[in-house]
Subunit: 224 residues, 2 copies
Amino acid sequence: MRDLLTHAVEDYLKTIYDLSLNYGRASTTQIADVLDVAPASVTGMVKKLTGTTPPLVEYQKHRGVVLTPDGEKVALEIIRHHRLLELFLHETLGYSWDEVDAEADLLEHVISDKFEQRIAEVLGNPTHDPHGDPIPTRDLEIPSHATLCLSHLRPDERGSIQRVRDTDPELLRYLSDHGVVPQASFTVTGFTSFDGNLTLLIDGQDKPVVLGTRITQQIFVEKE
Amino acid sequence: MRDLLTHAVEDYLKTIYDLSLNYGRASTTQIADVLDVAPASVTGMVKKLTGTTPPLVEYQKHRGVVLTPDGEKVALEIIRHHRLLELFLHETLGYSWDEVDAEADLLEHVISDKFEQRIAEVLGNPTHDPHGDPIPTRDLEIPSHATLCLSHLRPDERGSIQRVRDTDPELLRYLSDHGVVPQASFTVTGFTSFDGNLTLLIDGQDKPVVLGTRITQQIFVEKE
DNA sequence: TCTCAAATTTAGTTAAGCCTAAAAAAGGAT
DNA sequence: ATCCTTTTTTAGGCTTAACTAAATTTGAGA
Ligand SMILES: [Mn+2]
Ligand SMILES: [Mn+2]
Ligand SMILES: [Mn+2]
Ligand SMILES: [Mn+2]
């Protein structure tokens, strides 16, 4: 019954967890989009996940899918693997922060509990990954993390970058090239209402950087 | 055509490589034994491996299987992964030498070229794994390694341990507990012809250790 | 040479996880 | 209420890599 935790199952659960955080639930098409499979494949897998004992997901009539506590536990285990691996690849093996997500996506399903424990020790039981995302603890509690979106700030407000969505390597390279990295402090110096562009002056940088909403919606901050 | 390199295919090629080293070829039942699958499954896979372009193995019905140069290249790539990973787990993550084989068996199929390169660098481009087995170089040359079996030594001969078969964790723990580890020098102090038992006095150890043929056949040495 | 047990292959299934095409169900707009 | 578009499910199939059971081949000993 616990051997049902195939790579595919783990990726579905992780995806449902992420979507539920953002939307409260996960729809068939959203899941299909993220995992790059056909919607019909999602229906098939979701059926399987409701049929396990204990069930790993709950289907709510017209409201998509949410994880059961059991499903969430599995998702958090995989997310812990993923984020520890990202940090390990970055800190110990010298990967840049745009390269770690893809490799961690594969390794997360394969490493043992021992491997997880050892890299956590080597890294000093870290609380956040290279993109600022919180790493669930060993008993799967989630450290605090910022939820305020950069797109909501306006000129003259100051803050610090806390967290950046990690799935687009090109964006990550662009951001780090311009000093937009976790812990960087900044002042908002401009806002254009037509397109939502924000201008930021990062402390210690010469030039301000202009970011569109596609970008500012993927960055989370703390206000000063 | 190169996407045919599934985990299963890689494990078959690695197994055929190992068996060919020892027996010149690999029989269906030998492969089935090592991989713990049914002989019929081996026949099926072997057929698939002869049908690729280029073919990865050469096969005559009922006469066993050998790798083609292409198949050998793939096998050596996986073996490089495996042995680098073993050393990395041991040196960097503090695994003991009996724990590394199982974990490396899973990870070897998943790590990228970049991961391989990085751990090789961190380890200083090592030539041998924790059990003394040679690590193929980046261009898949095999460093020299001892082929003289400990079971062939006789009293008063001196030598040094070079290499130990790595698949039995219990044996590995027993050996390291008694100082039988790569680079250890020793003198043979006894031999019993009935059972082939050898008595070894390891330099720096108080007590001699008696090893049966089941053990001495899995240890390779260099004579002094 | 013949016989027979061991080794190997063939044939037919299974399970996972994906696919496409078509049917059905929602839900917004008229 | 009806239409229409989007979302979701159903139905049927494919591929990979296992399995079991039965058939076949091999090669060693009588
Ligand atoms: Mn994954
Ligand atoms: Mn991340
Ligand atoms: Mn393996
Ligand atoms: Mn080894």
